[in-house]
C-alpha cells in the first residue's frame, strides 16, 4: 500500500513506515516541506506504525535547500519557508517513534541536516557523501541550526562537519559516529528496516513518552526554533559581498 504526495512517497512494511524522497536531487523548498509534512501526518495518524525510515532515490538523499527557489520568491514567502522548515526539522527531531534516515546517496547541506534530525542514520558504501558544505558556499548556520548541530554532533567531529565542511564517505561517517550502520547499496533498505524493527522490539515505544523524551533531550534546540530568520535582502547582501571578494 503506497501513498503519493508528489515529491514524496509513503509505504508501509508491517509496523515500519518508509518515506521515499522521489524528486531527483530532492531539493528542499516550500513544496517539499508541505509534502513531507503530509506524509508525516499519515504516519502519525496510523496507530499501527512503530518506526519511520526515510530514504531518497538514485544519487541523492537530498541536495539541500533549493537556493534558486527561495532566492526568487517574495520576502513573505521566504520568511514563511524558513519558519516552516524549522518547524519541520523540529517535528522530525521529536517524532513520536524511532526514526532512521537511510542515506542512499548524497546528503548535502540542508539534506544532511534533515538526516541529522533522525534518531539514527544508515548509509550505503561506495557512493555519496554526508556533507554540510555551507562553509564552502559562503553560507552561515542560523542559531537554530547551530544549536541542532551541537545537540547531535560531538565536539571534535562538529569542527570537521560544520567549520571545515568535510565530506564524509560511509566509512568516515561511521568512524565519526555520524551514522550507526553502513552497508552495500542493495542492502540499505533491508538493513535499515532491520534496525528499525530491532528498535521497536515486541512492544515498541509509547508515542507520547518517546516524544517527551526527545523534547527533553533537545530542549535547548527547540527553545531557539523561532530565532530571528535573516531577511532575504540580508541573505542576498551577504552572498553578493562574498561573491565580490573572489
Amino acid at each position: 500500500m503506497a501513498e503519493d504526495f508528489g515529491v514524496v512517497r509513503l509505504n508501509f512494511f508491517n509496523k515500519i513506515a518508509v518515506i521515499r524522497l522521489v524528486n531527483g536531487d530532492n531539493k528542499i523548498n516550500g513544496r517539499f516541506v508541505q509534502s513531507l509534512n503530509k506524509a508525516l501526518d499519515s504516519v502519525e495518524g496510523n496507530p499501527n506504525i512503530k518506526a519511520l525510515v526515510t530514504t531518497g532515490e538514485g544519487k541523492f538523499y537530498s541536495n539541500g535547500l533549493d537556493v534558486e527557489w527561495f532566492s526568487s520568491v517574495d520576502d513573505r514567502t521566504y520568511i514563511q519557508f524558513f519558519q516552516d522548515l524549522n518547524e519541520l526539522l523540529s517535528r522530525l527531531l521529536t517524532f513520536p517513534m524511532p526514526t532512521v534516515a537511510a542515506l542512499n546517496g548524497h546528503a548535502f547541506a540542508g539534506g544532511g541536516i534533515l538526516a541529522l534530525c533522525h534518531d539514527y542514520r544508515t548509509m550505503r558504501t561506495g557512493a555519496g557523501w554526508l556533507c554540510l558544505n555551507e562553509v564552502h558556499i559562503k553560507l552561515r548556520f542560523s542559531e537554530f541550526i547551530m544549536s541542532l548541530l551541537k545537540s547531535k554532533i560531538s565536539s571534535p567531529v562538529l569542527t570537521e562537519v560544520a567549520i571545515l565542511g568535510k565530506r564524509f564517505t560511509a566509512e568516515a561517517a561511521l568512524e565519526a559516529g555520524l551514522v550507526k550502520l553502513i552497508t552495500g547499496p542493495e542492502k540499505l533498505i533491508e538493513r535499515s528496516l532491520e534496525l528499525a524493527n530491532s528498535l521497536v522490539g515486541s512492544k515498541g515505544y509509547d508515542r507520547v513518552t518517546l516524544q517527551n523524551m526527545k523534547k527533553d533531550m533537545h530542549a535547548a534546540v527547540l527553545a531557539v526554533k523561532n530565532s530571528a530568520i535573516r531577511g532575504k535582502a540580508e541573505f542576498e547582501a551577504v552572498r553578493k559581498r562574498n561573491a565580490s571578494k573572489l
Binding site: 524511532p98 534518531d119 539514527y120 547531535k152 554532533i153 560531538s154 565536539s155 559516529g177 550507526k180 528498535l199 515505544y205 509509547d206 513518552t209 518517546l210 517527551n212 523524551m213 526527545k214 527533553d216 533531550m217 530542549a219 535547548a220 527553545a223
Partner: protein, 207 residues
C-alpha cells in the same frame, strides 16, 4: 577493619552484591511518600550525584550486576566503570517506565556520554547494554569475568593513582571545573544561594 589514617586512601571503588549494582530509585517508597519528602529526597539524590561526580580522588564503579536507571546514573557519576561479563545490564530504562529525566539528570548523563549515537541508544531508546556492548559504546573502561571484577577494578585504580596519586584539593577543583554545568545546575535547583541564582541566570537560559 578500620584504617585509622584515612589520608592514605587515594581512590574509591564502589560495587554491589549478587545480581544488582543498583536497581535505581525506590519508586515504591517514593510513591508512598509525601510531596515534601519526595522533593527532599530528589534534592539529596542530586547532591549525592554531584558529590560522587566531584569526589576528591579517582572513583571506579565495579558493576557486579544490573545498573538500572538511577543505579546507572550513580555508576556514571564515577570516573570509570568496570563491568563483569556474562550477566547484568547497564541501562537507563526510564523510557520503558514512561518516565522523563529531570534537567539535572539529563545534564549529568550528557556530560558523561559524549557520543550522539550512544546518547540516543541510552536515553531515547532505553537500550540495555551488556558488558561487551557497554565496552564498545565507551560506557565502561574494562570488562572482566565475575570472579576477577574487584581485582581488576583495584588494578585499574592502582594504574590511575600511579606513583604519586593526586592532590585531593586539585582533583576536586578539576572535577568541579570539568562538570561545572552540572554542579551549577544542582546548586540552582537547591536554591541555596540567592546571589548564585542571579549570576546563573545566563547559564540557566542555555541549560
Amino acid at each position: 577493619m578500620m584504617n585509622k589514617n584515612k589520608s592514605n586512601i587515594q581512590a574509591l571503588i564502589t560495587t554491589g552484591k549478587d545480581k544488582f549494582y543498583s536497581n535505581g530509585l525506590d519508586l515504591e517508597w517514593l510513591g508512598g511518600s509525601g510531596a515534601k519528602d519526595r522533593e527532599a529526597f530528589m534534592s539529596a539524590f542530586n547532591v549525592l550525584c554531584v558529590r560522587i561526580l566531584t569526589f576528591p580522588m579517582p572513583t571506579i564503579a565495579a558493576l557486579n550486576g544490573h545498573a538500572f536507571a538511577g543505579g546507572a546514573m550513580l555508576a556514571l557519576c564515577h570516573d570509570y566503570r568496570v563491568m563483569r561479563t556474562g550477566r547484568g545490564w547497564i541501562c537507563l530504562n526510564e523510557i520503558d517506565l514512561k518516565m522523563r529525566f529531570t534537567r539535572f539528570m539529563l545534564n549529568l548523563i550528557q556530560s558523561k556520554v559524549k557520543s550522539s549515537i550512544v546518547e540516543t541508544d541510552m536515553l531515547v531508546m532505553g537500550k540495555r547494554f551488556a558488558a561487551d556492548d557497554a565496552l564498545t559504546a565507551g560506557l565502561v573502561t574494562l570488562i572482566t569475568g565475575p570472579d576477577q571484577l574487584i581485582e581488576k577494578s583495584a588494578g585499574l585504580a592502582e594504574l590511575v593513582i600511579g606513583a604519586n596519586g593526586y592532590d585531593r584539593g586539585a582533583m576536586k577543583d578539576m572535577k568541579r571545573d570539568v562538570y561545572a554545568r552540572v554542579v551549577a545546575l544542582e546548586q540552582m535547583l537547591r536554591g541555596k544561594d540567592a546571589a548564585a541564582k542571579l549570576d546563573l541566570s545566563d547559564l540557566i537560559s542555555k541549560l
